[in-house]
């Protein structure tokens, strides 16, 4: 299968099975698109399709290169099913620890119900439970060296003393069992102070701070418990943390809703504020909510990603570099096919643990009926549910098997599929559309920036000679 598209004015072809990506000029785009739509087309038909777009010599040249691409095995690689070997030993190596089922904000779109997770449970994780969670993870991790632990909530920093104690315990386990914990924290930033910032910057491999963008956009959706905006409470804290981290390993992560379909302005606002690592995510919520994104919004959202992409390219070229999570693609050093089959690993290699020690497939499944997998306190773990999640790889999903994006999104979010379609194997349609559009922009950006680098290197070489 070959996916041909244009994004940000750049034509691109993706050879799905092999992962080959090619930048096309206009004639190559027309010829390849015509060939895909007319697989029995003769050379004369393809030349005819190019008429009016270029002269006869160019058309012949394009046709010859198209043949070279196909005959050389660069395009139309057969869609053979890879041998699937997924986590045969039942390993778990990543964990989301819910340090607090409570929050000091009342974000309107919160899937965690202001930290309660629909369980009427406002509680803080006891340090001992956190330590048992790490013991459990080490035990389940087999020969894996890198173990990921994210402190999440609610607002995890409402339970900072416990986090400090659990991290110290983790460092002891590292020495004892030859493991490496990559701790991370996802916070709303309200409780950040000098002491906490210093701790996070010393101990956390990554820190995610939630800011939605422009103050009015952020404040509308992320009020405090007394209904006031929270932007002013957090922006300086975030700046301080990021400056002390020297712009390394963090994300300013926001959510956009139907209220701000001009979300490129929010990304750019954060970039203007000096943040370099940005992620703005679409809200996932009950479609009946007035701020919920709808499928009908996709054309507008697609245009917005294009607008953001163009400005992204401009700024990076002009020395105002920033990174946008969904435009980052590692096309040369990206994950192996095995990883691309398994996706995020929820319920399989990745689990969430609540303040009372219960295990769920991931943070989004917490509190959902029949999704509890066990407890780190009594050591129970539902291996049949782990196998169920393990079997939910991208090629097991009917809709994904024929999708060009399957080795990039890896089948999407199981929690969203479960929430919207009642089945972890049936992806959430809006998420698929968003993912496809973002991937197209990301590949186009990669191709354009590569070309810019090659052009600039060649100009430099010429000036030396």
């Amino acid at each position: 299968m070959v996916h041909v598209f244009k994004a940000l004015g750049q034509a691109v072809a993706l050879d799905v099975a092999s992962g080959g990506v090619y930048a096309l000029d206009d004639t190559a785009y027309t010829a390849l698109k015509y060939y895909i739509e007319n697989p029995n087309a003769s050379d004369a038909d393809i030349i005819a399709a190019l008429q009016g777009e270029c002269d006869a010599k160019q058309a012949e040249e394009t046709l010859s290169e198209l043949h070279e691409m196909i005959d050389g095995g660069y395009l139309f690689t057969p869609d053979e099913e890879p041998e699937i070997k997924i986590n045969t030993q039942g390993i778990v190596k990543a964990m989301c620890i819910h340090a607090a089922h409570d929050c000091n904000l009342r974000c309107r779109y919160c899937f965690a119900d202001a930290g309660e997770y629909h369980m009427r449970d406002r509680s803080l994780l006891p340090p001992e439970t956190g330590k048992r969670a790490l013991d459990w993870l080490v035990k389940k991790s087999g020969n894996r060296y890198n173990l990921e632990v994210d402190f999440f909530g609610g607002e995890p920093l409402m339970n900072f003393p416990a986090i400090r104690e659990i991290v110290a315990y983790g460092r002891e386990l590292e020495k004892k069992y030859h493991k490496h914990f990559k701790f991370t924290t996802t916070t709303n930033g309200v409780n950040l102070n000098d002491e906490i910032i210093a701790f996070l910057n010393k101990e956390m491999y990554n820190v995610v701070i939630s800011i939605d963008g422009r103050p009015e956009v952020h404040d509308r959706m992320r009020p405090t418990a007394n209904g006031k905006g929270s932007y002013a409470l957090i922006i300086d804290n975030a700046r301080k943390l990021v400056a002390q981290r020297k712009q390394q390993q963090y994300y300013i992560r926001g959510t956009y809703t139907r209220y701000n379909l001009d979300f490129a302005n929010d990304v750019l606002h954060l970039a203007d504020e000096g943040f370099e690592q940005l992620s703005i995510e679409p809200v996932v919520t009950d479609p009946k909510r007035d701020y919920a994104l709808q499928l009908a919004d996709m054309p507008r959202i697609g245009e917005e990603y294009e607008r953001l992409g163009k400005e992204y390219l401009r700024r990076r070229r002009d020395g105002r570099w920033f990174s946008f999570f969904h435009f980052v693609l590692d096309l040369t050093g990206g994950p192996c096919l095995q990883k691309r089959l398994t996706g995020c690993g929820a319920g399989n290699e990745y689990v969430a643990v609540t303040p009372n020690g219960d295990i769920y497939p991931c943070h989004q499944f917490v509190g959902r009926e029949n999704m509890r997998m066990g407890s780190v306190l009594d050591g129970t773990f539902d291996e049949s549910m782990q196998n169920y999640f393990k079997g939910n790889h991208v090629l097991a999903k009917e809709k994904c098997r024929s999708c060009w994006a399957r080795f990039f999104c890896s089948g999407g979010c199981a929690a969203n599929a479960h929430a919207f379609n009642g089945d972890i194997g049936k992806p959430y349609e809006l998420e698929c559309s968003l993912e496809q559009k973002r991937l197209e922009c990301a590949m186009a950006i990669y191709a354009i920036e590569l070309n810019n680098r090659l052009t600039s290197d060649s100009a430099e070489d010429n000036s030396k000679t």
């Binding site: 992620s279 050093g333 943070h363």
Partner: protein, 64 residues
């Protein structure tokens, strides 16, 4: 070639032989927490090689 420029080599299937170590990051942990994007993760093995070979520069930094 003039009209087709290779941006990424077609070597995904080869990674079935070399990959699968499981040391890379769980995609959801990194930034999103609500959407699943796997391909923007880096291969932990290759990142390690890069760190060893390029004075501590990571993939992400070297792309700047």
């Amino acid at each position: 070639m003039k009209h087709f420029q290779t941006v990424a080599q077609p070597n995904l299937q080869n990674t079935m032989k070399t990959g699968g170590c499981g040391e890379c990051q769980s995609s959801c942990q990194s930034a999103c927490k609500t959407s699943c994007t796997v391909a923007n993760q880096s291969c932990a093995k290759k990142e390690q090689e890069l760190i060893a070979g390029r004075d501590g520069k990571t993939n992400r930094k070297s792309s700047r």
